[in-house]
């Protein structure tokens, strides 16, 4: 009853149609990255389920460009009626605002953070011939050969790059950052021994780790990953407090009415809990996120933004 009253009140104050009226037409989920990537795929997984539960077509629209900013900005400025939503990610909502100096949207105020969908740890992987068997040995090796080790990443300012910079800062080592265009060519050079280490996301690292093509030394999250339970965290390997995940989730324009946000949130969580979706998200290296409510999600985005602002500044990744 209390909930209903709240709904009615909000519907009245916002001056919009009540929640039952949403969605009145097809819902667009903007994926701000190219088709086929993990963000696009997870959006499509959710969209298929939402379509059933909302009773309206739910389509995924790819609007790639400018590191995801184009699609995110488009939604930030779309009508806040719940018919246009976006998959916002760590890049667009935590890293880019500092990395690019400015972005045309406010990652907090211009969005309702509906549901965190995916959280994937990064894994520190090294070339097989590197004589370091654990993080301690790697740090010792890096100290004995300052500036001789190279670490690769999928792009400047990616979580892989920033994890490397954080690692350098916390261990007092110096290694050269080699940026690639995407993680795939970076992994290839790592296997061939042209670069020695890299922080790769769990999903892409897992097959190579399991087939013994690369050696994993640690995960970047505070807790160990269920996919590689024997692998220590960086935190327990001496880098106290090291905690990084790559994440993305569903977001709506900032002025979207509360009832719509609540319904979308509830349906999205239901979609994520469906066994087939859960299995496929797991296949991408993601375990169900602990963050469940929109309020927690907003707080999380704000905290991440602060963390990465600091990290980006310290890393020198920001172009002058």
């Amino acid at each position: 009853m209390k909930r209903l009253a709240l709904l009615l009140m909000l519907a009245a104050t916002s001056g919009l149609a009540p929640a039952q009226a949403w969605p009145t037409r097809p819902v667009r989920i903007v994926a701000p990255y190219a088709a086929g990537g993990p963000i696009d795929i997870s959006a499509r997984l959710i969209a298929a389920k939402l379509q059933e539960s909302l009773g309206q077509p739910v389509v995924v629209e790819n609007r790639p460009g400018a590191g995801g900013n184009l699609g995110v900005d488009y939604v930030a400025k779309s009508a806040p009626d719940g018919h246009t939503v976006v998959v916002g990610a760590i890049a667009t909502h935590a890293i880019n605002p500092t990395l690019m100096g400015s972005v045309p949207y406010d990652p907090i105020k211009d969005f309702r953070h509906v549901a965190l969908m995916v959280q994937v740890p990064n894994v520190l992987i090294v070339n097989l011939e590197l004589p370091a068997q654990n993080v301690g040995e790697l740090v010792a090796l890096a100290k004995s050969r300052p500036g001789r080790l190279d670490f690769a990443s999928g792009s400047t300012g990616s979580t892989g790059h920033l994890a490397g910079e954080l690692f350098k800062g916390m261990t007092g080592t110096y290694m050269v950052h080699i940026p690639y265009k995407g993680a795939a060519p970076a992994v290839l050079d790592l296997m061939a021994g042209r670069v020695q280490l890299m922080f790769d996301n769990l999903a892409s690292a897992l097959p190579n780790v399991r087939s013994g093509k690369v050696r994993a030394l640690a995960v970047t999250t505070r807790a160990r990953s269920g996919f590689l339970p024997e692998l220590p965290t960086l935190d327990e390997s001496g880098l106290r407090g090291f905690d990084m995940t790559t994440w993305w989730g569903l977001m709506a324009p900032g002025k979207t009415p509360q009832p719509v946000v609540e319904r979308l949130h509830a349906e999205t969580l239901k979609a994520m809990a469906a066994p087939d979706v859960r299995d496929r998200l797991r296949a991408m290296g993601s375990e169900p996120p602990a963050i469940r409510t929109p309020e927690q999600f907003t707080a999380f985005v704000a905290a991440e933004q602060k963390t990465y602002a600091e990290l980006v500044r310290r890393s020198g990744a920001k172009p002058d």
Binding site: A35, L70, L188
Partner: protein, 503 residues
């Protein structure tokens, strides 16, 4: 004999009624989107991904692979008929394929493309089956310095692409290189030449440039020539290649297949290079090099075989290393991951049915394409008899839709219009767009690899000569440069002499 039992296993999987159907659906769909300008396999596969959730993994991947090589096929069709390269690999097919069509030889050109592609597909499927694991090791040997030197070789060879003036060809390559600089710098993340337009942050899209420079410019040029516009419609000519044609195309197909199979293995632009490389080789080797750019059948047969072979062997890094060689392969990885298959070296041993089934289905798919497309040639050619007042607006509309669908952004359509005008200006100045396109594709790759190699060597440029593979490429480039400049002088002198004798 293990290979025979493996292939038998593969064909057992590929020939099951359901998988045959999936393969057919894939290649038909692929051909269709290939024919529609701008709508590429990337967008199509992305849209179809959710449908594949409910299929079994083998069927799903067979269908997606079918779309990929079906699109290559369809792309050549529009390249030949209306000078519209839908895919990077069919840019080269435009050069002579379209000229053949203009001379009423669209039928033989289409048939050549089909036959060349099928032959190349057959051979390269065998290559994948026999040598996938050892060839994957070759891909591992290619690092930044090797790629850089390979691109240098590609660019040097590119100047040979032009049929006209060498100076203009070099100027166009440079223009392409400059356009390739637009976008975010890989190393520092700084925006270059974007003028505050965030749509330019990721650079200018290849398809957008190619459609503008070739397709749109061609339409403008044709509208100008009111009296010559009847060229195609009056003489459609024979559909099948003549005996003479077969004799001329056979060696080109063989060379194209070899080149394509070799370069396709390299992730990062290898398959792309193969059609350009094949054209260059054909032009140098052929007795009919004077016909190139005016409708030489070798100029269709070689590159078409090469790009199909390259498309096939680009599955090697995907299936053995889990490394995608191009955007479509990256999508295939996505499709595999959704199905709970981690792409990588273990696929072959853990899921032999999937691995060999896919390889067998590649050949089956190629066969289907030939069977589907040869009888369709007559139908395609009918397209040319459609009056221009209907054909041109229709093509324009499809181009705009296609380009818009790339990233759902109207900005891309404007960029295409800009390049259409640029293409028209170039046509007026007798500057050919092909070298520019190659510079545009290779420039960013070259810069990226150069800077990465220099970062890794801590700024020592000698690294390019210390690695044997890289050094070989550079030496070939230097030799080629010398050879290009010598015969250019020589042939000019010969022409001058010949001219004198005739008087």
């Amino acid at each position: 004999m293990e290979i025979l039992s493996n292939l038998a296993l593969g064909f057992g999987v590929a020939l099951s009624p359901f998988n045959l159907l999936m393969c057919l659906v894939g290649v038909v769909l692929g051909t269709l989107i290939g024919v529609l300008p701008g709508v590429g396999p990337v967008a199509t596969i992305a849209m179809l991904l959710p449908i594949t959730f409910n299929l079994n993994p083998i069927g799903a991947l067979i269908m997606l692979a079918g779309i990929y090589y079906g699109a290559q096929y369809g792309g050549s069709t529009t390249a030949i008929l209306v000078n519209l390269p839908g895919e990077s690999s069919s840019v080269v097919t435009c050069l002579d394929g379209y000229q053949m069509a203009r001379r009423g030889r669209a039928g033989p050109a289409l048939a050549t493309a089909a036959i060349g592609s099928f032959f190349a597909g057959t051979i390269s499927t065998l290559v994948v089956a026999l040598f996938a694991p050892p060839l994957a090791e070759v891909a591992l040997k290619f690092g930044p310095s090797e790629y850089f030197s390979l691109m240098v070789l590609g660019l040097v060879a590119a100047t040979v692409l032009a049929s006209g003036s060498l100076i203009k060809a070099i100027a166009m390559v440079l223009l392409g290189l400059l356009l390739g600089l637009v976008g975010t710098d890989v190393n520092s993340g700084v925006l270059r030449f974007a003028f505050g337009v965030s749509e330019l942050a990721d650079g200018i899209g290849f398809v957008v440039v190619a459609m503008g420079m070739f397709g749109l410019a061609e339409i403008i040029v044709n509208l100008e020539q009111t009296d010559q516009r009847e060229v195609f419609t009056s003489k459609v000519g024979r559909l099948m290649p003549s005996k003479e044609d077969f004799k001329r195309m056979a060696p080109s197909i063989l060379r194209g297949t070899a080149l394509g199979s070799a370069l396709g293995i390299l992730p990062g632009g290898g398959a792309l290079l193969s059609s350009f490389a094949s054209y260059t080789v054909e032009k140098k080797v052929s007795k009919y090099s004077h016909e190139f750019g005016k409708g030489a059948i070798e100029g269709v047969a070689g590159p078409e075989s090469a790009n199909n072979a390259g498309a096939q062997t680009s599955f090697i890094p995907l299936l053995t290393l889990g490394i995608p060689g191009n955007a479509v392969m990256a999508l295939m990885i996505g499709a595999m991951m959704i199905q709970g298959i981690a792409p990588g070296p273990q696929v072959m041993t853990e899921r032999p049915q999937l691995f060999w089934g896919m390889i067998a289905s590649m050949w089956v798919g190629n066969l289907m394409l030939v069977i589907l497309n040869l009888p369709m040639i007559g139908l395609w050619i009918k397209l040319l008899t459609v009056p221009y007042r209907i054909l041109y607006p229709a093509i324009l509309v499809f181009m705009c839709i296609g380009v818009f669908s790339l990233s759902n952004n109207p900005f891309d359509v404007l960029i295409m219009a800009f390049f259409g005008v640029l293409g028209y200006i170039c046509a007026k100045l007798a500057c050919e767009p092909a070298p520019m396109i190659l510079g545009f594709i290779l420039g960013p790759l070259m810069e990226e690899n150069l800077r990465r190699a220099m970062l890794l060597s801590r700024g020592d440029p000698l690294v390019f000569f210390q690695k044997p593979i890289s050094a070989t490429f550079l030496i070939i480039s230097i030799v080629l440069l010398v050879v290009i400049s010598l015969p250019a002088l020589r042939s000019k002198r010969e022409q001058a002499f010949a001219g004198e004798e005739q008087k």
